[in-house]
Symmetry: C2
Subunit: 197 residues, 2 copies
Amino acid sequence: MSPTPEPIATRDRFIHAASSLFAEKGFYGASMDQIAREVGLTKQALIHHFGSKEKLYGAVLQGISERLLAQLEKQPEGAASFAVAVERLYQTTLKNPGDTRLLMRELLDNRARAAKAGTWYLRPFLDGLAERLRQQPGWEKAKARDIAAHVYQILGAINFFAVSTVTLEQMYSAAHVKAMREAFPAQLRQLAGLTLN
Amino acid sequence: MSPTPEPIATRDRFIHAASSLFAEKGFYGASMDQIAREVGLTKQALIHHFGSKEKLYGAVLQGISERLLAQLEKQPEGAASFAVAVERLYQTTLKNPGDTRLLMRELLDNRARAAKAGTWYLRPFLDGLAERLRQQPGWEKAKARDIAAHVYQILGAINFFAVSTVTLEQMYSAAHVKAMREAFPAQLRQLAGLTLN
DNA sequence: ATTGTCACCTACCAATTGGTAAGGCGTCAA
DNA sequence: TTGACGCCTTACCAATTGGTAGGTGACAAT
């Protein structure tokens, strides 16, 4: 029945393994051999499927961005859609710490691999959020710079916190972080609800 | 007059070079050879001074923490000190992109190198900010979790943006990022001025 | 039966990694 | 004058890196 039952599964297993290893140790820190052995195959099988490490990394990134965008797009646009999108983003971000770490690393590494464009994937997502904010009362006539800044503040608050939880738990305690995690959404709602001046 | 005029200079030059390369490419991405050549000496001279790559990294981290702590301590506490501290933090963060990137990487790598505690020095900084927020009208009686969450949102907004500028310039344009950078402080002030509910 | 394609393998490669060994050179104290 | 020490060098090293070459076996189409 299924035309390609196993092959695709292998590819996905590679991407999954690569995803978590890149998230954990970064692009340079994770090796092809390590990723392949995680799946139980050889490095050359990995190369056979993706061509090069860069391309594998690209595939991983694309997977994340597609998930991110899909999640945004299945939410209806509308009057209160921005707050909803932010709330949901907070939940998914905390739920997928690997993806979050990887995106953060990409942000950091991009300078070195400049112009190689690993993050154009993220643009539709950012633009989607900006679009929703512009439909919000008080933002219809806002300048692009203000909309971008506001979206990015929220994105920053969410992602930075998500990435920090492990460190914060070491620094304070698991209980403290749990409390923060509970206090976060309400304040995020407040932040998302801000209007200009 | 000076007891050790040259030797220390070399060490500092190594730390400086290592700092920017670690910030740029991460711990694994930057090589000892590269760092040494940046200074005009050999890899073995680097090893002679620091013993190992890990120790060099530790020295770099310590340098940053000392700078950070020094900057925090010269700011007075007071009634409106929170907004001032946030404003100043925004400026210094944007002014030292290398340090910011490196700290962000630490946050990400900490999981792998867990309990190695590269971030203990962030705690007094966080606590200092929380202290100042608690003195703000509307926050005197707030729960610890709410204060922590609010401080961390601001910190996240600032650091995430600072780290993203390069990527954002690629994704949009330098002009767009410049506009965002100008729009940021006003919105940050708004965010910092929020009170609970 | 032949051909081609796909997934995967072993064998190999040059380059680079962090690190060691040993010695040259200058300075300073005995 | 000698010896010790700090700074830095060349010469190596084993291990690991990403990637190539060439092949094996399974399966589908011809």
